[in-house]
Subunit: 152 residues, 2 copies
DNA sequence: GTAGGTGCAAATCGTTTGCAGTACA
DNA sequence: TGTACTGCAAACGATTTGCACCTAC
């Protein structure tokens, strides 16, 4: 899903929400980023060009997107209050711990399904969902860290 | 690792911490549970028998155990402020969303390693760590839910 | 004896709520 | 026009900190 202005407006209206300038601005800003963001990150990135938008509205838009299933949480790195716009079906994250970049990968990995079956057999659990995140350095940050620490 | 009193004392002292009665009490209570707990859960379970132990001390002991690598976080269910005592090497969690029970399973699953290799090849990421949690109903809670909702 | 640990109260942080004014449909 | 939305300020809950007293070593 691409979040251009018209798309955002139609998604909001289809779900009975008003397409206010604040919502459009916040969602466009959020969708622009390929990194995970906290509410405060998002607020900060809006502050310069849109000082009139308050933190409370950022929280409310994130909450709204959550109800529409358009955000997903990022768990790695301590707290779980980091968000990434969700443009796909159930998927997993590959995170760069240095620059915060997020890459999605699909959930229907045969390896993962096999593992889940094995665990079900062994434990008798009725598995409903799962969380999987890989954390490391993206190619660019990895390159930079090599320049600083050649041995790593 | 079994957390009997002597073991706890020696771990604390080996790392330069004092073995105070409060610490021993809190760690024993924590180690007794096979569920994930929030700091408040742990505080509540101590309150009856040890009303003299304050919430602040619970936080400080959890922090101490964290620094010693003896707790792990549970991510599922929204916030990440749930803890489980860590008695093993790097591992993953199978959580019951109803009763909170946690079962560990080892990390060296060939399926998972294959998947990680594949992702490394495709993306060029230098993967350092990962989070994997399966969430569902344990056999007992699953049985109970069947009695209430036979179709599920 | 002393450094480290504890408990209280206050401070702090992130997040949510009440409310009056505003603007989209 | 009416209802949903916004922004401010205040409230709130979880966690951390300052400080005086205490205790394990």
């Amino acid at each position: 899903m691409k979040f251009n202005e018209d798309k955002i407006k139609s998604v909001l209206r289809q779900n009975g929400y008003k397409a206010t300038p604040q919502r459009l601005t916040i969602i466009k800003e959020f969708a622009k980023s390929d990194r995970f963001l906290t509410p405060a990150d998002l607020y900060d990135s809006l502050k310069n060009n849109h000082p009139d938008i308050g933190m409370v509205t950022v929280y409310r838009v994130l909450d709204l997107l959550d109800r529409l299933g358009l955000v997903c949480k990022v768990h790695a790195g301590g707290d779980c209050q980091k968000y990434k716009i969700n443009t796909a079906e159930h998927h997993h994250h590959l995170l760069c711990s240095h620059c915060g970049m997020v890459i999605n990968f699909p959930c229907d990995e045969p390896n993962l399904e096999e593992l889940m079956e094995k665990i079900t057999d062994e434990t008798g659990f009725n598995i409903k969902t799962h969380i999987l995140e890989f954390v490391g350095l993206c190619p660019r940050c990895n390159e930079q860290s090599r320049e600083i620490n050649p041995e790593s």
